[in-house]
């Protein structure tokens, strides 16, 4: 079993697709990091001065109401209106400054959670694609038959084929998140700020990263399982995309209440910790409506997605043990 697993890990990591995708991923990561670093600036006085200039210019522009608008206002005015009835109250320069000024420093506390989310989403999608093609390629090349003449216990074969991509992708995800956070810290330390980093924020981030790794494992496994019973990479990907685009997208509009059973909302719940879903308002009092919403918690999302994966693997195992291996020959 462990040898089977080792062989599958070796096959996965030897695939050119896997290596290319990793390289591309790394390149994108570095590119985004450099972009962030360039964008970050510690020159606070300069940024403040720029914002103040902008605020003053805008305030000057807003304080002068267009003359024709003032004229129109005055013609309709009833007698006895106060003299300043048609003066225009634009925002002050200070008010505008508050809106315009942004801290140009790259902040670890602010950006790192998004780095984690971005990396987890990217590696999850990668995992899904790698999982499907890893299993699909086995059927496309017809090598399943020869593998089974070396290890005929199909459940073992299946578990090794499921575990290998999951483990590899979770490791890839962990490395990616670690690299991303390290990079983020580096940018913040050199060109931005790490001052607002509280231990609470760090704990949240670690929890989010850990849940993200689970999500990566779940999606990679799902890719394997779907390709396992369709016995075809493209069929598996097309079926999944069709489901996401057609079923989830259309139902989201038709039956918002069902959103709690969607893959996307549960995945978002796992990743963010809490995911709030809004239902259409049913009514209210006066002009106010009562907004109905509910929260999907990470734990519920995890349980739900794990159950889904178990069901998919179940179908895979059933078809794999019951169906003949009569492909993979020169017929």
């Amino acid at each position: 079993m462990i040898r089977l697993f080792g062989a599958e890990v070796r096959r996965l990591t030897a695939r050119r697709m896997f290596r290319y995708l990793l390289l591309v991923g790394l390149a994108v990561l570095v590119f985004l990091g450099v972009l962030q670093a360039i964008h970050s600036s510690r020159d606070i006085p300069a940024a403040q001065a720029r914002a103040r200039r902008q605020a003053q210019a805008d305030a000057a522009r807003f304080s002068v109401a267009p003359p024709e608008a003032v004229a129109r206002c005055k013609t309709g005015l009833p007698a006895g209106a106060p003299p300043d009835a048609c003066t225009f109250h634009g925002p002050t320069a200070d008010e505008l400054y508050q809106q315009i000024y942004q801290d140009q420093r790259y902040s670890f506390a602010q950006h790192a959670p998004n780095v984690v989310v971005g990396l987890v989403v990217a590696v999850s999608l990668l995992g899904f694609v790698i999982g499907t093609s890893f299993i699909g390629a086995e059927w496309a090349s017809g090598t399943m038959a020869s593998l089974l003449t070396w290890e005929p216990r199909r459940i073992r074969v299946l578990l090794a084929k499921l575990a290998a991509p999951i483990v590899v992708l979770v490791v890839v995800g962990a490395v990616a998140v670690a690299l991303g956070l390290a990079g983020s810290w580096l940018i913040a330390a050199i060109r931005g700020t790490t001052a607002d980093t509280t231990s609470h924020a760090v704990n949240l981030m670690i929890a989010r990263g850990a849940r993200g790794l689970l999500l990566i494992g779940l999606l990679t496994g799902a890719g394997c399982a779907i390709a396992g019973f369709t016995r075809h990479t493209v069929a598996a990907v097309v079926a999944t995309v069709a489901y996401l685009v057609i079923v989830e997208n259309i139902l989201r509009h038709l039956e918002p209440g069902w959103e709690r059973w969607f893959l996307t909302s549960n995945a978002a719940a796992v990743l963010t910790g809490k995911f709030r879903l809004f239902l259409p308002p049913t009514g209210g009092f006066g002009s106010a409506t009562l907004q109905r919403s509910f929260v999907l918690h990470a734990s519920r999302g995890l349980i739900y997605l794990t159950a889904l994966l178990a069901a998919l693997v179940g179908i895979w195992a059933f078809t794999f043990t019951q169906r003949d291996i009569d492909e993979g020959g020169g017929r």
Binding site: L4, A14, A145, T149, W150, P152, R153, D324, I325, D326
Partner: protein, 308 residues
């Protein structure tokens, strides 16, 4: 204990959208004794590949019993598999991996030392191309890689489906030598083939199948004899007189070119009958039919497999 025992094997494929049924095996029996090189002969679609797939647990039979090296299949196949090397139909590999890596992945599954991979590649003469991608291999090279894959286990039993398919004459000869060598070291070989002359040269025993059933089985000599025991080829100066004499003696005589073919007797008996009447044969001997004749006479009855 036989190396391969198959009894009453039945298989009906149900495939396609309309679930059309196709009977592939219809009560096949097959026994291969240890140390034999056993030929498994049959026309296209007679169920050879299906039988080998069932032996290897790839296809589930509808009925019948299978034992390999004494172990029931598929129940205890896992115990037998380390000692069984096999190539089923055209061997398939990951095209973008090298031949060596393909074998290496399988060797890892069984925990074989890497040296076995090189050893097997050496045996099939693929060592210098082993690092090329399989995508670029010729048909014969893939076949060789398949055989290397089967030999890597140093098996006690080899199941080969048309192993010489796609090989050049030199390759065919190498396979023949390899089989002879393996047989001399006690390996049992079951090999399906269409190449009858091939089988006649390599194999010690054969089973001929038609329409999913064994129609003849035994040693090559016995199978050949079974068809030709009573046929004698004869050439005489006066065929007409000889025909009259032999017909009188209760034998059937047929003319074939300038030969007389006598059925129902052995050469000495024909010689005696003729000698008693003073007719002396120019040439006289048993008619050596080859496997092809036997094969065609046994399997030609109907090539079409009726629907199940």
């Amino acid at each position: 204990m036989a190396a391969v025992e198959v009894a009453g094997l039945r298989k009906v494929y149900r495939g396609g959208l309309r679930r059309r049924e196709r009977r592939a095996l219809d009560g096949l029996d097959l026994v291969v004794a240890p140390g034999e090189v056993h030929g498994f002969l049959g026309p296209n679609g007679s169920g050879k590949t299906t039988t080998l797939r069932i032996l290897l647990g790839l296809v589930r039979p509808d009925a019948g019993e299978v034992r390999l090296l004494g172990r029931p299949v598929p129940a205890e196949l896992a115990g037998a598999v380390p000692e069984i090397g096999s190539v089923v139909e055209a061997p398939r590999f990951f095209p973008s991996f090298s031949g060596r890596r393909n074998l290496d992945l399988l060797a890892r599954v069984a925990g074989l030392e890497p040296a076995r991979v090189d050893e097997a590649l050496e045996i099939v003469g693929l060592a210098d191309r082993a690092r090329d991608r399989v995508k670029g291999y010729s048909l014969g090279m893939r076949q060789r890689l398949g055989i290397a894959q089967a030999l890597m286990k140093r098996p006690r039993l080899l199941l080969l489906d048309e192993p010489t398919n796609g090989l050049d004459p030199a390759g065919i000869r190498e396979v023949r030598r390899l089989m002879a060598h393996l047989a001399s070291t006690g390996v049992t070989v079951l090999l399906s083939s269409h190449m009858l002359s091939e089988v006649q040269q390599i194999c010690t025993s054969v089973t001929i199948v038609a329409q999913g059933r064994a129609v003849r089985t035994g040693t090559v000599d016995a199978v050949l004899a079974g068809d030709t025991a009573a046929r004698v080829r004869l050439r005489v100066a006066d065929p007409a007189a000889a025909t009259a004499v032999l017909t009188e003696g209760g034998l059937t005589v047929a003319h074939q070119d300038d030969w007389l073919m006598v059925s129902g007797a052995v050469p000495s008996e024909v010689n005696r009958l003729l000698g008693e009447r003073g007719i002396w044969a120019d040439e006289l001997g048993p008619d050596h039919a080859d496997l092809e004749d036997v094969f065609l006479s046994l399997t030609q009855a109907s090539q079409e497999i009726p629907p199940a």
